[in-house]
């Protein structure tokens, strides 16, 4: 597995810092991190961070909280000064991260089945029953693990709508799992687009891993550089992206063709539907709150 290789590195310009303080100072200390330019603040009891169980820590020790953030190196001096001056005391520590954190989830990943597809991380073995189709993935942390409910929902819809010979378009292709699944189900060819450049290599290697590389094409120019019409267009993206690209998604789907949309919540369904008109709803499903819409493109 190579899940750690694509992690956005902290980079030279920023450092991970941990602030340790009493619970009543959490609000202010978190805010000091925000003002220092952190991208997020995590909060854990200090004994959890240190790996000390409650039984081992001294019962008389005051509860402490550790806040972790990532701040620009240039903000470190101000932050350190603030920690030294605040009443009650906040300890600051610059942390060296063990790169293993990015891979910790891998040992818990499992294979799952959608129709005939057996979707599995490449390091997990699965015994195939007759008629089942193996879909190994080597997910990195840039894209999903392929097991997200919205991915499962779109795959389930695809199993029913792709049965051979289709030309498919994958908008927001990410890891490439949907394109590869369509090709394994018999689609003639798949074109994938994504604004994230890493989706190109990710999609190509996913297609190669499943033996469908010659029918897969990643179009680095984005949706605007694709001018063909497709029989099936799928997009598993957050609602904002679906709204932004909806008209172009609809334009790339042939009249009578199928659009499969996922990646949004029940409360956002109407917005997704409105974004890709003219179209009619053919089927809709909900997996853990994530909606999949199957639509027929109309005139």
């Amino acid at each position: 597995m190579n899940a750690s290789t694509a992690v956005p590195a902290p980079g030279d310009a920023s450092v991970v810092v941990r602030l340790r303080c009493a619970p009543e100072l959490v609000e202010l200390a978190s805010d000091a991190l925000w003002q220092a330019g952190t991208s997020a603040v995590s909060e854990e009891p200090a004994d959890v961070v240190r790996g000390i169980s409650a039984a081992e820590s001294a019962p008389s020790a005051p509860a402490a909280v550790e806040l972790t953030g990532e701040v620009p190196v240039t903000a470190l001096a101000d932050l350190r000064a603030w920690c030294g001056e605040v009443a009650g005391g906040v300890e600051l520590e610059v942390v060296e991260l063990d790169p293993a954190w990015a891979d910790a989830w891998c040992e818990h990943a499992r294979a799952y089945r959608v129709g005939p597809l057996v979707v599995r991380p490449v390091w997990v073995d699965a015994t195939l029953q007759p008629g089942e189709i193996d879909l190994p993935l080597d997910p990195g942390p840039t894209f999903g693990s392929g097991s997200h409910p919205s991915t499962r929902g779109v795959l389930a819809a695809m199993v029913q709508r792709v049965d051979g010979g289709e030309r498919v378009l994958d908008v927001g292709s990410g890891s490439g799992v949907l394109s590869v699944a369509a090709l394994l189900l018999g689609a003639d060819s798949a074109v994938a687009v994504d604004i994230e450049p890493a989706a190109g290599p990710a999609g190509r290697s996913a297609a190669a891993l499943c033996g469908v590389a010659e029918r897969f094409e990643f179009c680095s120019g984005g949706l605007d550089s694709v001018d063909a019409e497709f029989d099936v267009v799928f997009a598993n993206m957050l609602i904002g992206a679906i709204e932004e690209l909806g008209a172009r998604i609809r334009a790339r789907c042939a009249v009578g063709g199928t659009m499969i949309l996922g990646g949004f919540l029940e409360s956002q369904r109407d917005r997704a539907l409105a974004a890709v008109q003219p179209a009619e709803t053919v089927a809709t499903s909900n997996e853990d709150g994530w909606v999949t819409l199957v639509l027929a493109a109309t005139r």
């Binding site: 956005p8 978190s30 805010d31 997020a40 995590s42 989830w105 818990h108 942390p141």
Partner: protein, 141 residues
Amino acid sequence: MAKNVSAVVKIQIPAGQASPAPPVGTALGPHGVAIMDFCKAYNAQTESQRGTVVPVEITIYEDRTFSFITKTPPAPVMIREAIKVTKGSQNPGREEAGAITQAQLADIAQVKMPDLNTNDLEAAKLQIAGTARSMGIKVID
């Protein structure tokens, strides 16, 4: 059957902008959570609140699945947004970083109420005023 909880993690994240980098990734990764799956779920749920910080409390179960609830934005963040000050005072008490009105405190208290230990708006306002003062911000009428 209820699933066994293995950890509860709190993270403050800008709405719609969770990414697998530290500290989101480093807080969740060691608990065995597929980090991008969390980011996607968080970003979908908070996309309408973009522009502010939406804290989240994530419950991780023994099978490494997770659920989460979002909280109201942190009081200091709301206070700074209200008075348009990006930096609080480095020396609270000695140096005023700005001023906040009673009306602004009431607006913030109203939003924060679900996460404060009170149902009384006046009591909630006092808590927010206390936070503002500790940030070096003066409370005015």
